[in-house]
């Protein structure tokens, strides 16, 4: 059974590319466009990995991440943060709040696929 991935980002163009690429790589992909929708989708669909944009309306990525990590039920869920701000300190904040990886925009699409694969196969 193929692994499931949720993409949570309010930027439709990037969602479009990532969805296409990850489907091509053999994953089952769902999308959400804000923090609360992402939480609902995760509860419903139980994905294996979530790509979380930091800047989202109605709960930002950090908040979603913290909520997920405080819930034992999602212990195995992998979280990858996406952000447009490339500052070291934000990366650190994401990782401190429990993210498994952190990707800065702009990114090489191949890089995202590789990191996702790495996390899901580990």
């Amino acid at each position: 059974m193929s692994k499931r991935i949720l993409i949570a980002d309010d930027e439709p163009n990037i969602v479009l590319s990532l969805e296409f690429l990850l489907q091509n790589a053999g994953y089952e992909v769902a999308t959400a466009t804000d923090g609360e929708a992402a939480l609902t989708a995760i509860a419903d669909q139980r994905p294996d990995l979530v790509l979380l944009d930091v800047m989202m309306p109605r709960k930002d990525g950090y908040e979603v991440c913290q909520i997920l990590r405080s819930d034992e039920a999602y212990r195995d869920l992998k979280i990858v943060m996406l952000t447009a701000k490339g500052r070291d300190v934000e990366q650190e904040k994401g990782l401190s709040l429990g993210a498994d990886d952190y990707i800065t925009k702009p990114f090489a699409t191949q890089d995202v696929v590789q990191r996702v694969r790495h996390l899901l196969e580990a």
Binding site: K59, D60, E63, C65, Q66, V89, S96, F107, A108
Partner: protein, 699 residues
């Protein structure tokens, strides 16, 4: 006895004798004149008895009257006079000792009253003098402390550019500059033209603009390999009052700015080419031209390659601009503990109980806005139900993490971001997020490594100071870093010989050598000197160098001074040290013990170093001979003992130079007492001794 006779009481009783004598003489005359013509009816014996009786009686009455006058007037007046003298001329509290029963009425009481008043006035004056001088001294000490602790470098110079004051910050920036010293010329340190130009400008401005000169900035170079200085010059108010020069090392700052500017420009320029290519390729593709698959593929590859290049260059730009952000001018170094303490001192209500642990670390931050943010966060934590927190600073690569730790759960991210979006009670209603942004930072709450604990973390820029060694302060607690009386001396250079010894600057020096024969190849291995200005030894204006003699050091000489071949291996050679020493000496008078010996070593190096010492030279050995010709003992120890100088570090160049300087300062005082006041006279005295010695050695 004679003194008593001449005293008022002596004279008083002298008068008594005179009057008594006169009366007696009258009685005698009356007696001898009347006796032969005495009527026969009166018996002679009876007459003589009567006469003698009357005589004695009048003497007795006279004596009694005189004694009473003595007791009631003369002695009391003498006592009052003596007491008044004591009251007038000494400070002691004195009570008049006036014999009882005098007839002076209120005089002693009034004199005593006047005396007491005088004493009281004196005491009051003394007290007020003392409190004034104490206040002055306190102010002086505060000023000294301010100058010493001032982070900005300051020099004060007189109009000729002579240095009257420098502070430790100036010493740090001009580290190792031999010409920095009291009474030395500023122009030995930095270029003359920009300073004089600025002075002229300010003087002009003062003359035309109602005496208001303000200050002016300029950049100037230092001599040697010293730093570039960014200076601010202001005139002192008096007509020829000199000027104050504040400065900082501009080199590092300018370099940083230039580097950052060029990096930024470069990074922006770099975006242009991939952008152009991308746009051209996208437009070509979207124009709908018929295109064979190979060409189309080429275009697509190009799109991919160029967008990748754009991403990379964009990262470069981000990095450069972040560097720019992280060194804002509003930021300053502050210790984490001081920051927290300042928040606590604000007396904010509703703070949790707070304890600080760990070593304080240096931050580079905007302490005021950050203080408000911390206060705000602590208040929020308290109202969130956290009564007790522990604040700890941790060191990361580029950050200092300020962790507020408590027992319990982390703060939910939405609560925290709510706290951070509230305007602070500071300035223009800045929010916590904005303060964090200024520091290029973010805050978050997470679980603590310790079970059951959580923390709120504020990563803050770490200061470079963290990694710098503070280095021992070279200045003693009360350093001699200023001397304003220097400005009252006129330049002595014109006629050295007639210059007073007190007005000259001296460099007292000593060398250690490989042996005693300079002309047979012995070399200097250690050279130390110290400056003496205005009769003061400037202990922090010292010069000390080990010199590589470029030959083996004989064991015999090592026993003497303790310097071995290993000690000098990495030391500079005389070719490097001597020019530096020349700079240190400037135009001062050279002083050494047995100066001829040391000068010989210096002069032998003239040819290969190109450094000449044509300064006047004074020799403490010869001066001691001149002043104390009663003894043949004129070694450094013997003179030191004679003059009460404590000897330390004998047979090290620095120790001997200091001892020689202390001896020299005392010799200067003795020379003045011997009527030797100018340099010419002192040199003459030394020559005299040399002549005497030469004569003696001939016999």
């Amino acid at each position: 006895m004679r003194r008593w006779l001449l005293s008022p009481r002596g004279l008083f009783w002298g008068f008594f004798l005179l009057v008594a004598g006169t009366i007696s003489a009258q009685f005698l005359v009356i007696g001898t004149g009347t006796l032969p013509e005495l009527a026969d009816g009166m018996p002679r014996t009876r007459f003589i008895q009567l006469l003698l009786g009357t005589w004695l009686l009048s003497l007795l009455v006279l004596g009694f009257a005189w004694r009473e006058l003595d007791r009631r007037f003369v002695r009391p007046i003498a006592a009052v006079a003596k007491g008044a003298a004591i009251l007038t001329h000494t400070d002691s509290e004195h009570s008049l000792e006036v014999p009882k029963g005098h007839w002076l009425q209120e005089l002693p009481t009034n004199v005593q009253y006047l005396g007491d008043k005088l004493q009281q006035t004196r005491n009051d004056m003394e007290k007020s003098f003392a409190s004034w001088s104490e206040r002055l001294e306190r102010q002086k000490q505060s000023l000294e402390t301010v100058l010493r602790e001032l982070d900005a470098a300051v020099l004060v110079c007189d109009n000729e550019g002579r240095i009257l004051l420098y502070n430790p910050a100036a010493q740090r920036i001009l580290a190792g500059h031999e010409a920095l010293g009291l009474g030395r010329s500023l122009y030995d340190i930095c270029a003359r033209a920009p300073v004089e130009h600025t002075l002229e400008l300010l003087q002009l401005r003062r003359d035309t603009d109602d005496g208001k000169a303000g200050s002016a900035e300029f950049v100037c170079a230092t001599t040697g390999h010293g730093p570039l200085l960014h200076c601010r010059l202001s005139l002192l108010p008096a007509e020829d009052g000199g000027f104050v020069l504040g400065f900082e090392n501009a080199g590092a700052r300018i370099e940083r700015l230039v580097r950052r500017d060029s990096a930024l420009r470069h990074a922006v320029e770099n975006l242009r080419s991939p952008l152009t290519n991308l746009r051209a390729a996208a437009e070509t593709l979207s124009a709908g031209h018929a295109m064979d698959p190979v060409t189309q593929d080429t275009f697509l590859t190009m799109l991919e390659r160029e967008s990748q290049a754009l991403s990379e260059r964009f990262e470069g730009l981000v990095k450069v601009s972040q560097e720019r952000l992280s060194s804002r001018w509003t930021m300053a170094d502050i210790r984490s503990r001081d920051l927290i303490d300042s928040v606590l001192r604000h007396g904010l209500e509703q703070l949790p109980q707070l304890e600080q642990t760990g070593r304080p670390l240096w931050l580079h931050a905007e302490s005021l806005s950050l203080g408000f943010l911390l206060g705000h966060l602590l208040q929020q934590l308290k109202s969130y139900g956290i009564p007790y927190v522990n604040v700890e600073a941790l060191l990361g690569n580029r950050w200092v993490y300020l962790d507020i730790v408590w027992e319990g759960k982390p703060i939910p991210a939405d609560t925290l971001s709510n706290w951070l979006s509230k305007p602070l009670a500071y300035g223009e209603g800045l929010t916590g997020n904005e303060v964090l942004e200024r520091h290029d930072s973010e805050a978050w709450s997470q679980e603590h490594g310790r079970e059951g604990y959580a923390l709120l973390r504020l990563p803050l820029p770490a200061s470079q100071r963290q990694w710098e060694h503070a280095g021992p302060d070279r200045l003693p607690p009360r350093p001699e870093f200023y001397d304003f009386s220097l400005s009252e001396q006129r330049a002595p250079l014109a006629d050295l010989a007639s210059t007073r010894l007190d007005d000259l600057h001296y460099v007292v020096f000593d060398t250690e050598t490989t042996g005693l024969r300079p002309s047979e190849g012995d070399r200097i291995i250690s050279l130390a000197a110290i400056r003496v200005v205005n009769g003061r030894i400037l202990y922090n204006e010292a010069f000390e160098r080990i010199v590589n003699p470029e030959r083996k050091i004989p064991a015999a000489s090592t026993r003497f001074h303790g310097i071995t071949d290993a000690d000098v291996n990495d030391a500079p050679t005389i070719g490097t040290v001597l020019p530096a020493f020349r700079n240190f000496v400037g135009d001062a008078v050279l002083v050494a013990h047995n100066a001829a010996f040391d000068m010989k070593f210096l002069q032998l190096q003239e040819a290969n170093t190109g450094v000449r010492f044509d300064n006047p030279v004074l020799d403490t050995l010869l001066l001691s001979f001149y002043l104390h010709d009663h003894t043949p003992e004129h070694t450094l120890e013997a003179i030191a003992k004679r003059l009460g100088v404590k000897v330390e570090g004998r047979h090290t160049a620095a120790g001997d130079a200091t001892t020689t300087a202390e001896i020299f300062v005392r010799l200067l005082e003795l020379l003045r007492a011997h009527g030797i006041e100018t340099l010419g006279q002192a040199l003459g005295a030394a020559e005299e001794i040399v002549d005497v010695r030469r004569m003696q050695s001939r016999f």
